[in-house]
């Protein structure tokens, strides 16, 4: 007889579980917490590696040199925006057209569900401007997106300048196999969501938006850029998206390879990367991991990329941070990293699917896959299971008392002998 089908053995097992219930619960809880904390340390972490063959090992020499143009455009954009108080859509349209893109605009408006501090049922409206760079020799079946969110509090003018300079550079190349969409959105995430909904022809958030005039095929990957200064000391990457969804790990690996290639300082969760796992390395890894878990748990999209993930478009947000460090990188360095990333993404033949979708990151070059962190959650859930099993005390110990239409009735009858009798009227009345 099996362990669970033999009534004698089953009763013995149940008795054991019930007797040791509290110690088992404590043990399981402790095991869960311990396993979770151990995730940041070397045996459970793995080095990241590029899984997609198409984005292989070879690197290309980047040729982006449009730093001056980027800065000039950034200044113009900043000036126009300050003058207008909103996104200077006409200026953007003119500039994108001069660079050689197909430009379209989209207007959207949304009544915010929660009243603002100053307004009751605040209505937000804005314009998105986007330009499409068509692939010179390919059918427009797939596309990549470079997006800059512009909001009332985050102007991101340098990001817009860099976007325009990159567009000008990309326009002169002939090796694009996918279309590239350069998107500037108003009101940060609201604009991005409006654009995405219109692009994919859905309406999940009740946004009123004008339909899109120009499209470019299925979006394979997207990069969101936030830069507010001419020079940056580091690039921070955000991966957590709406409801804790994560992009494919290959996209992060791609960013990390270009960080290494360009010698850029890249941070995750605002924390510097440990060069080797030296003294304070593991603790920092643990902090990064816990921060990532908290950010995922909050469910907020931590950047426009979070909204792309819902449509199964792998996306990342890169933030340029200007702090008090000696060594600074200018827009050309950031532009080169982006150029390299887009060139590699250009080689893709299918959506990114080779690498992990569920992972935790103790560092930019280390990850923990779901197979290794799930047992920690399993142990914590086991506590609940143990508690549930102990709630009605040993119903199977009672001998059967009379016929019953269902086995269930018998259990309930014995249960209500121990609680108040009026329960009977509720269940069997």
């Amino acid at each position: 007889m099996g362990l669970l089908s033999d009534p004698v053995r089953r009763r013995a097992l149940v008795r054991l579980v019930l007797r040791l219930n509290a110690p088992l619960c404590v043990l399981s809880y402790a095991a869960g917490i311990a396993w979770f904390l151990a995730l940041a340390f070397p045996p459970l972490t793995q080095r990241t590696y590029m899984s997609e063959n198409a984005m292989g090992s070879t690197m290309v020499e980047e040729q982006f040199a449009g730093g001056d143009r980027a800065r000039a455009w950034a200044r113009d954009f900043g000036a126009h925006r300050r003058k207008l108080g909103a996104l200077p859509a006409a200026w953007l349209e003119r500039t994108m057209r001069s660079v050689g893109l197909e430009v379209y605009t989209q207007s959207f408006s949304r009544k915010l569900p929660f009243p603002d501090e100053t307004h009751e049922r605040y209505m937000v409206s804005g314009t998105n401007v986007y330009g499409i760079l068509r692939a010179p020799r390919a059918a427009s079946t797939e596309s990549l997106v470079l997006t800059v969110p512009c909001g009332p509090d985050s102007t991101n003018s340098q990001a817009v300048g860099l976007l325009l300079a990159l567009a000008a550079h990309f326009r002169g190349q002939i090796y694009w196999a996918k279309d590239i969409i350069f998107l500037v959105t108003e009101h940060d995430l609201l604009g991005t969501e409006a654009w995405l909904e219109a692009y994919h022809d859905v309406n999940v958030t009740g946004m009123q938006s004008s339909p899109l005039q120009g499209r470019a095929g299925a979006i394979q990957a997207a990069v969101a850029l936030e830069l507010s200064s001419d020079v940056v000391t580091s690039l921070d990457v955000a991966v957590e998206g709406l409801n804790g969804q994560l992009p494919n790990l290959d996209l992060l690996n791609l960013f990390q390879t270009f960080c290494q290639k360009g010698g850029l300082l890249c941070t995750l969760q605002g924390k510097l990367q440990p060069q080797d796992w030296t003294s304070d390395g593991p603790l920092q890894g643990l902090q990064t991991l816990l921060l990532m878990v908290l950010q995922q748990a909050s469910g907020r999209p931590h950047g426009p990329h979070g909204l792309f993930l819902r449509y199964r478009v792998e996306a990342l947000t890169l933030r340029g941070i200007n702090s008090f460090r000696q060594y600074k990188y200018d827009l050309v360095a950031v532009g080169k990293a982006l150029e390299g990333m887009f060139r590699k993404l250009n080689h893709l033949l299918e959506r990114l699917h080779q690498s992990f979708f569920f992972y935790l990151l103790p560092a930019l070059s280390r990850f923990v896959s779901i197979g290794l962190y799930m047992p920690a959650a399993g142990f914590l859930l086991l506590v609940l299971g143990l508690k549930i099993s102990s709630a009605p005390q040993s119903t199977c110990d009672q001998p059967p008392s009379g016929p019953s239409p269902l086995g269930l009735g018998q259990g309930w009858r014995t249960y209500d002998t121990r609680v108040r009798g009026d329960m009977q009227t509720h269940f069997f009345g």
Binding site: N53, A54, G56, S57, T58, M59, V60, E61, A135, P136, R137, A138, Q173, I174, Y175, W176, A177, R343, N346, H347, L349
Partner: protein
């Protein structure tokens, strides 16, 4: 006596030989040159060059195949005698920053695509079925001439294959494979249908040596870029194009072939030395046990080029029959053996005597009785534990 009569019989051809050698020193040189004509036994050359992988990141396989194509054309084999199968179009791929070119050396030194590339099987036409049909000649009648391998029993064929492979197979187009057994059987079909005189098989894939392990037809020489368990590595990435341009083995073979001209006397032993482990990282291998001639007598141009042997001379040459055969025939007559009937083409080479194959290690299977006994035991235990009444559900 018998001994003296034997001596007297043997003396006659020996005397003739001596007379010949002392008599005409001048004519011996031209006769030596005439001997060269009959050294190899082939009258025409064919080449079947196959690249089996698609996608932009397999640029190097197309470059490999095109560089061998280029060498083979340069040494004289015309397009009508080359079957070129490329599984993908790299020159016109939208990701190619230099359209209409395929480079084999970085810094764009050598464009192997050129102006006059004729691809016979392109893109999705490169399948295992088409490849085997080309080799064996079982082609539908509507196939154009350029897609056929019209070789005969005096053709030397060069077969070059590249792509992604494993232990015993080669991947075609990311969706199917050809195994080494299928390839060996195809070559045997070719032998039985008199479709080749000699065959040179070169393969540049990971674990390439496994592909020639199963050959059993005569007159095949095989080279591979790596042994079983080793990977063939790629040579150099190009920073402007963004892919690896060539595989190491074919890169060094190409460099070797660039120095060959139609008149060169370089032999196969030099080709075996190309790309030692220090350069190639993998260990190239070769197989010559099925080949009748000594590799050092086989010229590179016997397979890679189409060398027409034309010599104009005003001297008369009288072709001597081979004295060795005369002697042995005399001996046989004397020993009074029965006449050997003329052998058919396929039986000229008793294959069993030529092939020295390792006895294959078969996987060990437990004896049949053991399995039966094991099941009987399991059933008995089952019935004992749960009672004999369950029998009625079984029977």
């Amino acid at each position: 006596m018998a001994a003296t009569s034997y001596c007297s019989r043997a003396v006659a051809p020996l005397a003739g030989l001596l007379l010949l050698s002392f008599g005409s020193l001048a004519t011996s040189q031209i006769e030596e040159q005439a001997e060269q004509f009959f050294r190899s036994g082939h009258t025409n050359n064919w080449a079947v060059l196959v690249c089996t992988s698609r996608f932009w990141f397999n640029y190097r396989h197309v470059a490999n195949t095109l560089s061998v194509y280029r060498s083979v054309k340069r040494l004289g084999i015309p397009d009508s005698h080359i079957v070129l199968m490329l599984a993908d179009d790299m020159a016109c791929n939208p990701r190619n920053p230099k359209p209409a070119t395929v480079f084999s050396h970085k810094n764009m030194e050598l464009n192997v695509y050129g102006d006059d590339v004729e691809v016979d099987y392109r893109s999705y036409e490169v399948t295992v079925e088409n490849f085997l049909r080309v080799l064996t000649g079982r082609i539908p009648p509507s196939t154009p001439r350029s897609k056929r391998l019209l070789s005969d029993d005096r053709s030397n064929i060069l077969i070059y294959m590249t792509g992604h492979g494993g232990n015993g197979f080669l991947k075609f187009q990311d969706s199917e494979e050809i195994t080494n057994i299928e390839l060996a059987d195809a070559f045997e079909q070719m032998w039985q249908k008199r479709r080749y005189n000699e065959l040179l098989f070169i393969i540049d894939t990971c674990q390439g040596a496994s592909m020639y392990e199963r050959f059993y037809s005569p007159n095949i020489m095989a080279l591979a870029s790596s042994q079983v368990g080793e990977d063939s590595l790629s040579h150099q990435p190009d920073p402007a194009i963004g892919v690896h341009l060539m595989d190491r083995y074919t890169f060094y073979v190409l460099e070797f072939l660039e120095e060959i001209n139609p008149a060169s006397q370089t032999n196969m032993n030099d080709l075996f030395q190309v790309c030692p482990k220090s350069l190639c990282v993998s260990t190239p291998g070769h197989r010559t046990d099925l080949f009748q001639r000594d590799p050092k007598n086989v010229l590179i141009t016997d397979f890679f080029g189409s060398v027409r042997k034309v010599e104009i001379t005003t001297e008369t040459i009288s072709l001597q029959t081979d004295l060795g055969i005369l002697e042995s025939r005399d001996k046989e007559d004397w020993m009074d053996e029965e006449l050997i009937e003329p052998l058919k083409y396929a039986e000229q080479l008793p294959v069993a005597q030529i092939i020295h194959q390792k006895p294959k290690l078969k996987d060990w299977h437990p004896p049949g009785g053991f399995i039966l006994g094991l099941w009987a035991l399991i059933i008995m235990v089952f019935f004992k534990t749960y009672g004999i009444k369950h029998m009625k559900f079984i029977f």
